[in-house]
Amino acid sequence: MTEPIIKIDAISKSFGNFQVLDGLSMQVMPREKLALIGPSGSGKTTILRILMTLERIDAGHIAIEGEQLYHMPKNGGLVAADERHLTKMRQKIGMVFQLFNLFPHMSVIDNVTLAPMLTKGVARAAAEKRAMELLDMVGMSEKAKAMPAQLSGGQKQRVAIARALALQPKIMLFDEVTSALDPELVEEVLNVLWKLCAETDMTMLLVTHEMGFAHDFADRVLFFDRGKIVEEGKPDEMFSNPKQERTQTFLRKIIAAGHRV
């Protein structure tokens, strides 16, 4: 029996008086492709942000490959993780953002090589070689010297994906990576995700409103509402035969809004 690569155990998170997550538990298996769907404010993005250590949890535990993310062993007990521990744990995780978050003052290739050179001590030549391979994979090698402002949204997002891949994370988090794109640019980004799915064995967590893509791509779909997993299952069951009323309502609304299932 393989161990889960991510084990979330009763985590809670509030922003002020708003409780986003309330005792949430879930597990993700290695290589699993997970789609997180649900209305906005349901906590799905917060989970990704917590896994990337962009938000801290108020309670609970998270283990990545059996090792605590926010805690570390000390004198036989567990204490809050320090920056060094977080740095070590972050090596396993990469994230792609809704708004790309490229570094606007650096060329495409510098965006991709920066982190491997700074955090892993990779030499420039090796980092650039690897970056060109990754840019090639996302179809952006011709734009290696361009600045981010010269690119379309879809191109920026493909660069952002290459940048995250350059650190070779085991887990990749995709936070609504097509939501900010014009409709005709969505496909080029989704095609890259397909490629990753086929060519790598990364564990992938995907927060998305692209229900058609979630259906085809995911091994398992989780429907979130008000900080809880309301329903989960195989894409086929979830989309064609949702059991919970809230899931049915959500999917009806999404379809009415023009999203393909």
Partner: protein
Amino acid sequence: MTDWSGYLSLILQGAVVTVQLTVMGSALALVMAFVAGLGRLSRFAGLRWLATAYIEFFRGTSIFVQLFFAYFVLPFAGISLTPLQAGVLALGLNVGAYAAEVVRGAILSIGKEQYEACIALNLSRWQCMRRIIVPQALLVMLPTFGNNAIELLKATSVVSLISLADMTFQANIVRSQTGNTLFPFATILILYFAFAMIITFSIRALERRMARGLDGVRN
């Protein structure tokens, strides 16, 4: 008929001192601006407090008093400075305090998403500051830095009060020797303005250079 060329060369000698003061004072101000500006944003309360104390003290007291203090009072503490050193110290610390707030404001103007990208790429806080935040903030700081440098240029005239022979000091000499006011003061008026224009255009050129590529236009 007075021979003005001799007096002009006197004023130009003073102009060299003014330029020296401006360049060295600006260099010190730049260093202080980053030290105190980043200090105010530090995670450590002690550093924040120190930076705030420095900024408020030097903004809150007169440059005259600061200069007199550096030149006339510090010797009693065993620190004797030449007029030029005292001038650079007072000007640099004074203008640095204003520029520190520029650094702080510019850094705060960089969006949170840039910090988040740093965390996701596992950069350390320092790497993030140095490679991502400050290079972008620099462009925001530049125009105001230009203002600060011009303020500093104009403030250099206070050093004539500690007998440093800058442009204003020399103009006064020429006035007292010739009794003419128009020649010396029109000359330094033009020179101060010319120096300020040099600063303005240099900053503009620097800004254009740094903004290259950020707006999507091919360099």
